[in-house]
């Protein structure tokens, strides 16, 4: 598969210079990455088989200028930035796949401009809060605890492949710095409690929505699947068994056909 190209899009809002990875071919699909920053993984490559995938990088992460996050002062700013990115990409009605933090952003976009999102797939999204099932404080965890919280089966080959690090310590330093910075840059919109009003806005979403959750997600409990589904008019839930917070890594075999079927329906 051809490696994805990067599109640079100057955004008026916050003077942000957006970077969007574009890969695959076919009808467009928007992919929003998780809190750890953008990546181009086998799940996205699968999406590229039948879609032109547009994957914007959250301000401060990926190929964007690290300090660009400072100008994005509020969730409202961030939503308007995404709106402007979609304008530039001429995506007037597009399906979106959002994972974890990207799932919350997908919901925010779909609530802000319902006509703009044609279908929505959420993988273990953040953005709601239940006192009896608090979201784990992932930003405060040491690395080994964080990965143990993210994955159900740490020793699975797909998980090990996702956690692979280069041997050069300088390269590792950059990867770790980028990861920490991405958590901070996304964390800006969920700290200290990831409950920033989405619960009041979800009723605006009109897109048919599939909510996918790893049954054993230790970071955001799968009880939240119902919380999202109860607030979105046209939503269904798919719980993936024996799976943690990252179904696109741990159970790609189950996820891939689910996603394909939903997008085709």
């Amino acid at each position: 598969m051809a490696s994805p190209a990067t599109r640079t899009i100057p955004i008026r809002h916050c003077n942000f210079e957006a970077k969007v990875k574009v890969g695959g071919s076919g009808p467009p699909l928007l992919y929003l990455h998780p809190a750890g920053g953008p990546l181009w993984d086998p799940f996205i490559e699968g999406l590229c088989e039948r879609h032109t995938v547009y994957a914007p990088h959250h301000p401060g992460t990926g190929e964007t200028v690290r300090e660009s996050i400072y100008a994005v002062e509020s969730l409202w700013d961030l939503i308007l930035i995404y709106d402007e990115i979609l304008d530039a990409l001429e995506l007037t009605s597009v399906p979106v796949v959002g994972t974890s933090f990207g799932g919350m952003m997908a919901c925010e976009l779909a609530a802000h401009r319902p006509e703009r999102i044609s279908k929505m797939i959420l993988l273990d999204p953040i953005g709601l809060w239940r006192e009896d099932a608090p979201v784990a404080p992932y930003m405060l965890m040491p690395p080994e605890q964080l990965v143990a919280t993210l994955y159900k089966h740490l020793d699975a080959p797909a998980v090990q492949a996702a956690l692979q690090m280069p041997s050069d310590p300088k390269q590792v330093a950059v990867i770790v710095a980028d990861l920490i910075w991405a958590l901070g840059a996304t964390g800006k919109f969920v700290w200290p409690i990831p409950d920033k009003g989405l619960k009041k806005r979800l009723h605006r979403v009109t897109a048919p929505t599939m909510i996918v959750w790893g049954e054993d997600d230790a970071l955001i409990s799968s009880v939240y699947a119902k919380e999202f589904a109860d607030r979105i008019a046209n939503a269904r839930i798919e719980i993936i068994k024996d799976c943690g917070h990252v179904p696109q890594v741990e159970r790609l075999d189950v996820l891939k056909p689910l996603v394909a079927k939903f997008l085709d329906s």
Partner: protein, 423 residues
């Protein structure tokens, strides 16, 4: 050199088996209802104030207090509560040579930050112009966990808060503040500080390169708050001074301050015996603090983060304090000079060498640390005050450097004062 007695104001009665297995941190996570006792805290606060007053009596140049939250390490939730008591007591008891080094109130988590401008002005007024205005960025756990500030906004709020504070202290007109984080329709601070144009500012920090740059750009002195002694501070302070040179600043030692835990007894051996368990209490129980708490993602800016990760152990020898300190015994920590423990002669020699090597004109000494009981703390302060302090105060006095970063009315040559006193 100016020597400040700095007090952590810790809880001195944690049980021997603390921290229990599974307790991630003694900050945030140690339940008050299991470990805290308000009657004991009554003693802790009163002892600490008495210990600081003893230092004032013995001729220390400054008394240092600070702000931390939700922990047994040090629970001055607002240093200005204690600064106010010390301002009044030192004035009434005639110890008006001593500065109040507030190290300090955390501006990034105080809203609006002019609350601190007001409180500092109050302290400067009560004390008659003896305030050093410490403006720490604050630890991530205090600012972002205890007080809920978004880590990514922590430093920006700190910078804006300082700008607002300085303007509120000095403006000769009403002004509106339309900042990124704070908006105030009409600022007209009452009272203003006694010191004109404002009290000297002191910026404490860990090892963040952006804090060094901030100090040099604004001509503020930097206080390196390390727990690991002079040896491990060499890397950090060398870089601080290299940055100063790059930015065209001189090597005036009064631009820098260093914090050191110190224990003095009659002999080296006795000092090790007497202070060993309190050293371990401090490093094993009170510093049970994981990295993710001190600096949650977004807290350190990207440049500093990369600088620290690229330097690895070269810059900061210890990463996760909650894990990496546990194998070290008091003996190891004395050997590595995290702590300076010994006879007066040993302590004099080590501190002098350290101050010269790091090129620091201000030294802050923590003479009560960990579980150290009140009587022992008093003995430590007495011995240090009589046998070590006068010697250290003479340091740098043969040099032409002026200390521009100390309350004007307290700037003096210790040696000349002593000559005059003996004449």
């Amino acid at each position: 050199m100016n020597v400040t007695m700095f007090h952590f104001m810790p809880y001195r009665d944690l049980p021997a088996d603390f921290p229990p297995k599974g307790l991630a941190s003694s900050w945030i996570d140690a339940p008050w209802w299991e470990y805290g006792n308000a009657d004991k805290v009554t003693d802790c606060y009163n002892w600490a104030l008495d210990e600081l007053m003893l230092a004032a009596k013995l001729g220390f140049d400054g008394l240092g207090t600070n702000e931390h939250h939700q922990n047994p390490y040090g629970f001055m939730c607002n240093p200005n509560l204690f600064g106010a008591i010390l301002a009044k007591m030192t004035r009434d008891q005639g110890f008006e040579q001593v500065a109040l080094v507030q190290l300090g109130a955390t501006i990034s988590s105080t809203s609006p930050p002019i609350r601190i401008a007001e409180e500092y002005a109050v302290l400067d007024c009560i004390s008659g112009g003896r305030l050093v205005a410490g403006l720490p960025t604050g630890l991530g756990n205090d600012v972002s966990i205890s007080y809920g500030i978004t880590p990514m906004e922590h430093r920006e709020r700190w910078r804006e808060g300082i700008d607002l504070m300085l303007k509120a202290w000095t403006a000769k007109e009403f002004f509106a503040w339309n900042g990124k984080y704070f908006q105030l329709p009409k600022v007209n601070l009452w009272p203003r500080p006694v010191q004109d144009p404002h009290p000297p500012v002191l910026i404490p920090g860990a090892a963040s390169s952006s804090t060094w740059d901030y100090c040099h750009d604004r001509n503020f002195p930097y206080a390196y708050l390390s727990y690991f002694g002079g040896k491990s501070a060499e890397q950090v302070m060398d870089r601080f001074w290299a940055r100063a040179a790059t930015k065209g600043k001189d090597a005036n030692p009064y631009r820098a301050s260093f914090l050191q835990i110190v224990g003095v007894a009659e002999t080296d051996r006795r000092a090790e015996e007497e202070y060993g368990k309190h050293v371990e209490y401090f490093y094993h129980k009170l510093l049970h603090l994981p990295t993710g708490y001190i600096s949650p993602p977004g807290n350190a800016d990207y440049k500093s983060l990369l600088n620290i990760l690229m330097s690895g152990k070269e810059l900061l020898q210890y990463g996760d304090l909650s894990i990496e300190l546990k194998p070290l015994k008091a003996k190891d920590m004395i050997e590595k000079e995290f702590v300076v423990i010994g006879s007066p002669a040993t302590v004099r020699e080590k501190l002098e060498a350290m101050a010269k090597r790091l090129n620091v004109g201000h030294l802050m000494v923590a003479l009560q640390f960990g579980s150290m009981p009140h009587a022992q703390a008093k003995k430590n302060i007495e011995l240090f005050g009589r046998e070590v302090l006068p010697h250290l105060q003479n340091l740098w006095e043969d040099q032409p450097w002026e200390n521009h970063w100390w309350p004007k009315r307290l700037r003096k040559r210790h040696s000349r004062q002593r000559e005059m006193a003996s004449a």
